[in-house]
Subunit: 681 residues, 2 copies
């Protein structure tokens, strides 16, 4: 039989190799517009400067945490932590590097039409998609190969997640500081268009798209992907490590990821679009093809892996117990992703009702979006519950542990990550391309092509968000089980007051973390607004367009603000679970994790969907409804959109990383918590 | 030894008798202004018409539920259910009856100054405060005396809570429909003052204060009060029912309530204020005096109750195990109440920062209020956790069951209800008095006195809200334990996927319920806005003030809308726990309750505080900051206030009743769920 580690390594390197190939292809695409090249260059510089400072700061932090791990746990985990953090940063940085170079090339290709421009954007996104999964898979496999212990891979995962949390929260603050600042002064006060080059914050806004949506999202999915695999490895090790052929249960997720990579590569070949077609549909086709391939190939792989013998006790083929949860996870991921999209779709009654409320001003529009956002969590929650129950009982029915099934479902869901991230990174690239086209004074027709590319990107983004939350939910449930195993909790009793108190405290964390991030955006955007107003007022010629604005100052405000504002929520996410654990013991910490998972998922879904809904309500009016752009209704809708911005792009998407980080921290420090808690309840 | 039931009955009747005395005193106060009498009369008619229709509708529903209980459980519980619902309605109705008659009298007394007007308002509020506790205590005692079984008293509590939920949600929809409608057209479009008689929705707005804040809040506190007592009775019965002197553990809460009533009566004597003093301080003095009396008297009562013998096993005086949780509950209630007030206080940085954001328009103001609202949950959550742990371990330390201690803490907290409700009902009365004074064309000086009375009312309201949520939290935790006893759950394991799925589904309920109520307000307010605009447009003379507006049409829109919009959320709250229970069994239902408690408390705190904060940010600007009334900042703050209205007065205050109703429904139907669940997980 072939060693699964070898298969995983080969698939990982194929993925990285193909990413490099796509990268050189994208870089070979030409851009002959000097204006766009200049605009793109400013974005590249701004993004690189921000990421450099971010990673310098985080590097220091990572070393501190690594030293703590070194002292409290062991050097292997500390080493894996550093490697995980570094590779996660690398995946994010490279994605950003490509996307900031692809934007002007896409816009230039848009001169020749949709058919020419679409592949440039999609393959540039593909570089990041393939790098994320390739680097993650190689990293995990090598760490496991060296140390032969999934607990060390846990350190790798903790490193990746810690970096992802800060990269995403920081990117989220950055991008919305710039976006809100640019909109509030540019659009509302001076009636400038979205990417008007006279606006001093336009460069910062475009940089924000890259550091938030590309680098942040890349690091985030990297972390979910790794965490889901680690949860299976830990559970496989704890539950079956000592049985004959037990390592198959540990290695299976690596193999499944390898299958997912090959399937994603094939799926990407199906992403093609013609001149008159909808590029969004092309992206969806790729996703569905990838899913089907994974389901079929996984069945074969399981047979190869020697888990196919009938269980001595149940007489059932255990392979089903792995295959069916994988498929359940895949289906749930697709369903949750598409549901989130449907809830916030511009044709939905919820979006149109919200938009209609704009006739009475912003207040009821905000109340409606808020409420529909809350309603929208229900289908996804039901989807997550169905996937949990199905994978648990299917695994159990075929003689395996139920929690192992839930963990497998999470990996199944995330096995299509290569394809999903490729579609997602496409979004900010085409968004930037539109900015380049406008800043570079391209023709109406070129801008229209960019607009169509952009609309497809928004759909892909909505799907990815739902998908990321669903995957995170199953992953953290699996990590929750891994935590319980690591501290030897057989039963976590909700009748124990310690568990209840933990539940309450944990449940307060996601709202608290969200509030801190949103306040950061508010504070920073306020500074940005003052600076933009100052430039328009004090620098003659800026508002007339004869003198270029001082974009660097705006980039600087966004950069410094994001880094400064990160400190408090970052500390909170590491220290809170440890504080609860070392104060009240392992049971309270278990309750804490459960509480944070529940409200984390609920707030993440609510914020992503409410934000998307307000955004689309605004677009609905901009498309001509209720008086169209410039009407009172439109002004009200702009307020709603601004409220939704940090919901959907700052706080919401950071929450699934928050609960992953807290679960990993609890699992790593769990044995110490169990030993040294002050007042165990 | 005296029978505790007799003591409880006597205290209950004293309370009712004193309420009647205060009522006749208030009715004897004169009002010689015909204009104010007419305005007051319209409010009386509107409120009575709404409550009549509400209670007719709810009467039908109550009969249906009673029949279900009759068939599924027994006739005694069904009977107690009807009695509970009726008495809860009676308490709310009578409170409203007095408050709508006191308003003009308070305004008239304000002609002679604060010292004369304050007692009229406070004693009118006292009628409701004393009636609520008196009727509740007599009702519970009689039901227990007849049937000798706390499970029948559970039916009484379920009846009271079911009615309270619908009365409060309906009142909340009514009051905010009218308030938002009146403000959006009157204040924003036509620049009319708050209670300008030309506005067709002004009567509806004042009716709303009475049906929402008086009748709704009365029914709600009635229900928390009863539920907390029942939780102790059930736990006392299950845990100690068979031990010698076991009934003392069942009857103790009745006695504690009796002590609370007498203490509240004494405390009310301390509520006095002079011409130059702050009436808010007088209200707080009364609350603190009541608290101290209860703590002291309870110690004596426990000694009398024969629980004072040293425990055979532990050698400790068990009386401490009851006294200390009582005191813990009292302290926690006061602390949580005053914290909620502090968070939303106009002098707080959070309020001023939020107001400052208004300089950039409504969007960041809303984001700031939203975030500070989320932050504000943390101190209360810590308070609830501290009270839970303290009461649990104190009881356990002295040889009693920990959950019995938590239940006792809830009753301890609620023992000051008589005083709290009196202060709270004072709020809408003085609010209405101000309306009367303005509508009746009273002098500047009189209106200024009414304003000062009103400001004190807002503080009392903020304290009551925090207090009500804290009390509900401990009560539902106790009910949660009672549920577990009733279905014989020894351990509720969070590692069981059924419990996790229940947790997720339960946690979705409060957001879902909130969303439905807020959407109702939005829809209804939209209709109200259209009607007010129509009257100003189509009826000549209304806007000039020469022809009175058609207020009845507006009252009608609010009434019909509130009743219609109640149906769906009402059904949901009864059916969801039963659906989860009968589908997935008692463990999933346990998880469901835990999930709903956690997010219920979090959303209730968030919504109450965020709403209060926006309200005060607006007042801060109206007091002259940032350009004062009429400035752009003020307009932005009005948007924030409107968003906060249904948060703090519709959805937020209904949530604690929602989780109480669901816990009671689960406990009553628990044994059937345990028997007949389809797919028990």
């Amino acid at each position: 039989m072939i060693d699964p580690k070898v298969v995983a390594l080969i698939a990982g390197f194929i993925s990285i190799g193909f990413a490099i190939y796509l990268f050189t292809w994208v870089m070979k695409q030409s851009n002959e517009s000097e204006a766009m090249a200049k605009f793109s260059k400013s974005i590249q510089e701004g993004a690189a400067a921000y990421l450099k400072r971010l990673f310098q700061a985080l590097g220091g932090l990572a070393v501190v945490i690594a030293i703590i791990i070194l002292i409290a746990i062991n050097w292997q985990t500390a080493f894996a932590f550093i490697v995980g953090a570094t590779l996660s940063a690398l995946a994010g940085y490279t994605g950003m590097y490509v996307s900031t170079r692809a934007n002007a090339r896409v816009a230039f290709a848009a001169r020749s039409g949709l058919k020419k421009a679409f592949p440039v954007a999609f393959y540039a996104g593909g570089v990041m998609g393939l790098l994320v999964v390739g680097i993650a898979l190689v990293g995990m496999t090598v760490i496991y190969w060296i140390f032969k212990d999934p607990n060390i891979v846990l350190g790798f995962s903790f490193g990746a997640s810690s970096l992802a949390l800060l990269a995403k929260a920081g990117g989220g603050i950055y991008t919305k500081t710039a976006d809100i600042g640019a909109d509030l002064v540019g659009k509302v006060e001076f009636d400038l268009a979205e990417d008007d080059p006279r606006n001093p914050a336009v460069i910062a806004d475009n940089v924000g798209d890259n550091v938030g949506d590309v680098a942040g999202m890349g690091a985030d999915i990297f972390d979910s992907y790794v965490a889901s695999v680690v949860a299976v490895m830990i559970l496989g090790w704890e539950l079956y490590g000592k049985s004959p052929n037990g390592e198959a249960f540990v290695l299976f997720p690596l193999l499944l990821c390898g299958v997912g990579i090959i399937a994603s590569l094939i799926g990407m070949l199906f992403v093609r679009t013609g001149e008159g077609n909808d590029p969004g549909r092309a992206l969806n086709t790729g996703t569905i093809v990838t899913t089907i391939i994974i389901a079929v190939v996984t069945a074969g792989v399981i047979s190869l892996m020697n888990i196919d013998s009938a269980n001595a006790w149940t007489g059932k083929w255990q392979g089903w117990g792995i295959l069916l949860p994988t498929v359940a996870g895949l289906i749930a991921g697709i369903v949750i992703g598409f549901t989130s999209d449907a809830v916030t779709d511009i044709d939905q009654k919820s979006v149109q009702n919200t938009a209609n409320a704009a006739k009475t001003g912003p207040a009821i529009l905000i109340l409606d979006g808020f409420s529909y956002g809350l309603l929208s969590i229900v289908p996804s929650i039901i989807g997550i519950c169905a996937a949990t129950i199905a994978s648990y009982y299917l695994a159990q029915h075929f003689g395996l542990s139920g929690v192992y099934g839930v963990a497998i479902a999470a990996v199944g869901m995330l096995s299509i990550t290569g394809m999903i991230v490729s579609s997602d990174a496409y979004g900010p690239i085409v968004d930037n391309a539109k900015g380049c086209a406008e800043a570079g004074g391209e023709s109406e027709e070129t801008i229209r092509v960019c607009d169509r590319l952009d609309a497809a990107g928004n759909t892909a983004k909505a799907i990815t968000k739902g998908f990321a939350i669903g995957a995170a939910a199953l992953t953290v449930l699996a990590l929750f089980a891994a935590y319980a195993e690591s501290v030897n909790i057989q039963i976590l009793d909700l009748r124990n007051p310690g568990v209840i108190v933990g539940l309450f405290l944990g449940a307060s964390m996601p709202p608290l973390f969200s509030a801190m991030l949103i306040l950061s955006v508010g504070r920073n955007a306020f500074k940005m607004v003052e600076e933009i107003r100052r430039q328009f007022r004090e620098i003659p010629g800026v508002i007339e367009g004869t003198v270029p604005p001082d974009s660097k100052l705006c980039v600087d405000i966004a950069t410094k603000g994001a880094l400064k504002e990160l400190i408090l929520p970052g500390l909170l996410s590491f220290l809170a679970p440890l504080a609860v654990g070392f104060l009240f013991g392992k049971n309270a910490l278990g309750g804490f994790l459960a509480g944070s998972i529940v409200t984390g998922i609920i707030f993440a879904l609510f914020m992503a969907n409410a934000g998307g809904l307000w955004d689309n309500a605004k677009k609905y009016i901009e498309d001509g409804a209720l008086g169209g752009p410039g009407s009172e209704a439109h002004k009200a809708a702009v307020v709603g959109d601004t409220v939704g911005d940090p919901f959907k792009d700052t706080a919401g998407p950071s929450l699934n990383t928050l609960i992953t980080v807290m679960s990993l921290a609890a699992t790593i420090f769990g044995p110490l918590v169990a030993k040294y808690a002050l007042f165990p309840l």
